[in-house]
Symmetry: C2
Subunit: 412 residues, 2 copies
């Protein structure tokens, strides 16, 4: 008889986004003509940069021509893409990252999940609360969490609350943890990390031989030049951090699929019998064995992000969403929903629900009375209770329409 | 201190294909002008079907247009692709497979590795020997194999030899195993399975509550209509088998990346406390949590495989490689390398090395004296020792040139 991975049975039944879809569909069944505006899931709406389109057109053409046709590519990604990433995203910002330390993948969701393949059991794992649910669920599946308890938390995870009181950045724990997930600019709160703050994490990790799993999927939204885009801008981070990056939120690749993970060659761990092992070797073996590289066509599209036109067009896209975020922040500020956070270096606005409503109560009210879909903060963790995420990924027209509705319903 | 997955330390150091690359590079360093012909790795060489190119061109255009732009798609794949697969690949062949049972992915290598995520420890796992190395290595990484022993086999795996004596198909074991990997048409031997033979496996699996992991990546090469393309052509297989399919070898998608896995909703397993669980639910949860779907552009390319022109063009591609295989078989038959198998319903020719040479001895001779690269059979497992794989994936010109060289060196 086949044994299954029993850890799957520990997963919470109602995953956040399916629950939202269910409630939205129930509402639409009774109100089929309603013009809902969706500011829930963090999915982009604007077309890909022209430079990426052109590059992918050429790449598709290559695939139809015997001389230029590409079969299996390197599992780690083509060097022409890895080199551009290393140069533009890291070396230009003073980070000593080599192209061989860049692993191209089809998405950060995959990478943040798959990274657990190379780690053992019995690591103490810290996540912030609220947090991107994938970090939690993939740890549950890997058997790292134990069971969920009455507070809706997994027994063996260490939760670092992020709240108004700590300016939405987690305090450095006073106990020793092995793996720490950090995400800046933060999903869902939109909070950012200063260099000093990240340095305190790097110091902590080096002191405790911990590894930081740093998710920088939203780095393109940083508008203040003093803020770090990469954890490798902090000295010593190459000895204690893996960084996840994506083309989803800067170049709009959510449906195109390309991302990358940085694993420095200096990042070491100890084996059970106390010899040193390179994390790079392990991840390289994992990717070579369980992955076959990203489509040539898509990698050419990602490469174009680094061309002169590409950079301008990506910048334009990001500024468009940031302007949406600014409109949301400002308009909400004039209503009863005026306790707003994030949305400055992030496409996400994090707001406190009015009148002490729970996140889901507010979700239902906004859905039914204002016909807007957002994301309940409690879906990201217990400490998200009483908060709500609004995404700036939408057309200007929809953002303005949504704000008009909110201003009417929640006027002071 | 971070614990690593210690199972990685049990992996054999020298993986087959890197070792080949190393020897080839050493040879080329001393013979830089040599015109090596590579018939080693199973990578296609001919351009993509015109229908796929057109479809991807249109899809790239969609991504540049706000109205047609696609963000996140369903993690399981777009229904328009899943439906075409279910209809053309299964329902038309009498298999009762629904589109909801098709999970689109970026490759069979990923799927055959990732599938282990949903299974527990302590399963008895059977593989054939020789075998596609990914099945073995991913089991090592998951901790299912124990250590490698003096016979170059992992202690806890059950090896089912496939040799000349059993016509290169594994005997049904007389002990009970839980998971069985089968691949037909077989990589590396090129052997095929009849319906009767597969039925005996389905009967075995149903009797023992086992699950068959059926790799049908090469089904397009079957030329005899009486042979099954899918395990679901066998009654009862929906209760005991998962099938892996790919667009790599039929439509030449090795560098384009699209595949799919079939998980029937009737496939059940028992949990530790003896309740039933649907394997479909587990795989769906795995894919929704650790995967974000295949690029819209690539899925449109795969869809075109099922158009009228697409089908004709794929057929043409497959017949081209099959004709290569036929040439290889026939020409080798006139030489000292005349013990040849496979190559009829498969792009792979499996040959017995001449004069009792070991697989690697023959590899070196073929490389250095005849300037042809193939794959040593022992790299696929101990029972592959004394055999050698020649791939028909190349241009006609190269195949003919290679055969000329072989006929000269190995003339009788």
């Amino acid at each position: 008889m086949v044994n299954i991975n029993e850890n799957y049975l520990k997963l919470k039944a109602g995953y956040l986004f399916p629950e939202i879809t269910k409630r939205v569909n129930t509402f639409l069944d009774s109100n089929p003509k309603n013009e809902l505006i969706k500011l829930g899931i963090g999915d982009v709406t604007e077309p890909l940069p022209e430079a990426c389109i052109k590059a992918m057109m050429n790449a598709v053409e290559d695939m139809g021509c015997r001389q230029k046709f590409k079969g299996y590519g390197p599992e780690q990604g083509y060097s022409w893409l890895r080199e551009k990433i290393a140069y533009h995203d890291f070396q230009l910002r003073g980070c000593d990252i080599d192209s061989s330390e860049i692993f191209i993948s089809d998405g950060s969701k995959c990478d943040t999940g798959n990274i657990l393949d190379i780690f053992g059991k019995n690591n103490k794992i810290a996540i912030t609360d609220p947090v991107y649910p994938v970090y939690v669920d993939t740890n549950v599946m890997s058997g790292n969490t134990g069971y969920i308890n009455a507070e809706n938390r997994y027994d063996d995870l260490i939760y670092l609350p992020i709240k108004e009181e700590n300016n939405f950045v987690a305090q450095i724990p006073d106990i020793k943890v092995d793996l720490i997930y950090l995400c800046f600019p933060n999903n869902p709160t939109g909070a950012v990390a200063t260099k000093d703050y990240l340095k305190s994490w790097v110091d902590y990790a080096r002191f405790n031989n911990s590894i930081i799993l740093f998710d920088a999927a939203y780095e393109a939204f940083i508008t203040d030049e003093s803020l770090p885009h990469s954890i490798y801008e902090i000295e010593g981070a190459k000895d204690c951090a893996i960084e996840f990056r994506s083309f989803s939120k800067n170049a709009g690749f959510t449906g195109t699929r390309c991302a990358f993970t940085v694993v420095p060659k200096t990042l070491m761990a100890n084996t059970a019998n106390n010899s040193k092992i390179k994390i790079w070797d392990m991840w390289n073996r994992r990717q070579s064995t369980k992955f076959n590289g990203v489509s040539y066509i898509i990698q050419r599209g990602a490469e174009a992000v680094y061309s002169e036109e590409g950079k301008k067009q990506v910048d334009c896209l990001v500024r468009f969403y940031l302007e949406n975020a600014k409109i949301i922040r400002e308009q909400l500020g004039t209503t009863k929903l005026n306790q707003v956070y994030g949305g400055i270096h992030s496409p996400y606005i994090w707001l406190k629900t009015p009148g002490g409503m729970s996140s889901w109560e507010f979700f239902d009210e906004l859905l039914q009375k204002v016909n807007i879909v957002g994301t309940p903060g409690s879906g990201f963790g217990s400490s998200g209770e009483g908060y709500f995420r609004i995404s700036a990924f939408n057309s200007r027209e929809n953002i303005e329409k949504a704000m008009k509705r909110i201003k009417k319903y929640y006027q002071i």
